[in-house]
Point group: C2
DNA sequence: GCCACGACTGAGCAAGCGCTTAGCATGCGC
DNA sequence: GCGCATGCTAAGCGCTTGCTCAGTCGTGGC
């Protein structure tokens, strides 16, 4: 199986919950097209074509092209938030939780770099109300990470001068994986997660031995 | 003077070398428009309008809309490379040079976040030949940073397990400043540079006291 | 005074955009 | 067998896009 088909399979799996089948194929096609060319450079004809349908079919399942972006954005942000909250609520020291959080968050941005690229770099293309909803999900993700870093700092595990600034930097580092990661690069998503967890522990002054 | 006019002034200053005046106003207008809405969402009418000219005037000074992006991209990448090479060639320990490099590189991405946003996030909109030229400038920037980190690791100043991976992460961290930085935020570009230099020294296991 | 020339505009072209509409198959309840 | 909802397509509408071109304006050389 070639890299192309593999990715298509992965995209399909990611949207397995969407029904009916045509709607699922459309959202999968949109993810691929948006990630490849950007939202504004993607045409509704392109999306429909990739899904094997006529341009008009798109509008039976989605009101506008922006709604497709919004659905992708909500699903992606919810998944990212879930990953972060799973790590935040885990047992263990702050260093354990930070390590888990960064490893999972960074490797998700590598593994699902197509979806991640869209949700991180096409925010401005969302409508105003949709943007506000997404911004709330983003704030919640940020707060979870900040709390871990604050906990570690309070407990003396970390040595961090600027907790909000460091939180911002760690999030930014993980998010930007979606920009540079490619499936044919020399690192697997897991390796990226490992590397990043190690680097971030260094950033907060709690490098593991 | 309002924030709007201030930014316009800064943009004008950045492109002060471009002649004639109309070409300079056009490239400044393009920087603002591309950074605000993205390349594909910006129309040539918008650029010309911001420069106080008719749509046709653009084509006297630039062959296509893509040429404007290319000029912005070359200038921006050359400036970023110059910043990196100044730090790389400086006197001092590897930690000194890394600190300088990150401080200058990150704060440039904050200070000139409009230009930086374009050159970092609109690469795919470049034509093939133009892209190849830009990719070369990027590789040179990467190499300079990697050499600093390699030097520090060889000298025992740093403790880095994966030099190319860490280089990628540091560059990614600095570059992504352009995505989240806004002039009305609570951090100045210099403060971002200071914070990031400190965090990166931690990443390489050489945190200053 | 007049011409040549570069800078610029108003009008507009061909192509492509997001999206709509009318109509056609298919499959279900009865 | 029939009516009808559903999922889809072919055609195309109104508009915007990047870009062009004929012509106007202001200016410097002679």
């Amino acid at each position: 199986m070639g890299a192309e088909a593999e990715r298509t399979d992965q995209v399909a799996e990611e949207w397995a919950g969407v029904a009916p089948d045509a709607a699922q194929r459309l959202v999968g096609a949109a993810v691929e097209a948006f990630a490849e060319r950007g939202y504004h450079a993607t045409t509704t004809r392109d999306i429909a074509g990739r899904a094997g349908m006529s341009p008009a079919a798109l509008y039976i399942h989605y009101k506008t092209k922006e709604e497709l972006l919004y659905r992708i954005s909500v699903t992606g942000h919810e998944r990212a938030l879930k990953i972060m909250s799973a790590a935040a609520e885990a047992e263990g020291t702050a260093a354990d939780r930070l390590c888990r959080a960064v490893r999972a968050f960074a490797s998700w941005h590598a593994e699902r770099h197509t979806t991640a690229r869209i949700i991180q770099y096409e925010l401005k293309a969302l409508g105003e109300e949709h943007y506000a909803e997404i911004a709330d999900l983003r704030r919640r993700t940020d707060r979870l990470l900040r709390e871990i870093i604050q906990d570690g700092t309070d407990a003396g595990e970390f040595s961090v001068r600027d907790v909000p600034g460091t939180t911002l930097a760690v999030l930014s580092l993980c998010v930007d994986v979606a920009r540079w990661f490619t499936a044919d690069g020399k690192r697997t998503p897991d390796q990226v997660g490992e590397l990043y967890a190690d680097l971030v522990l260094g950033m907060v002054g709690a490098r593991r031995p």
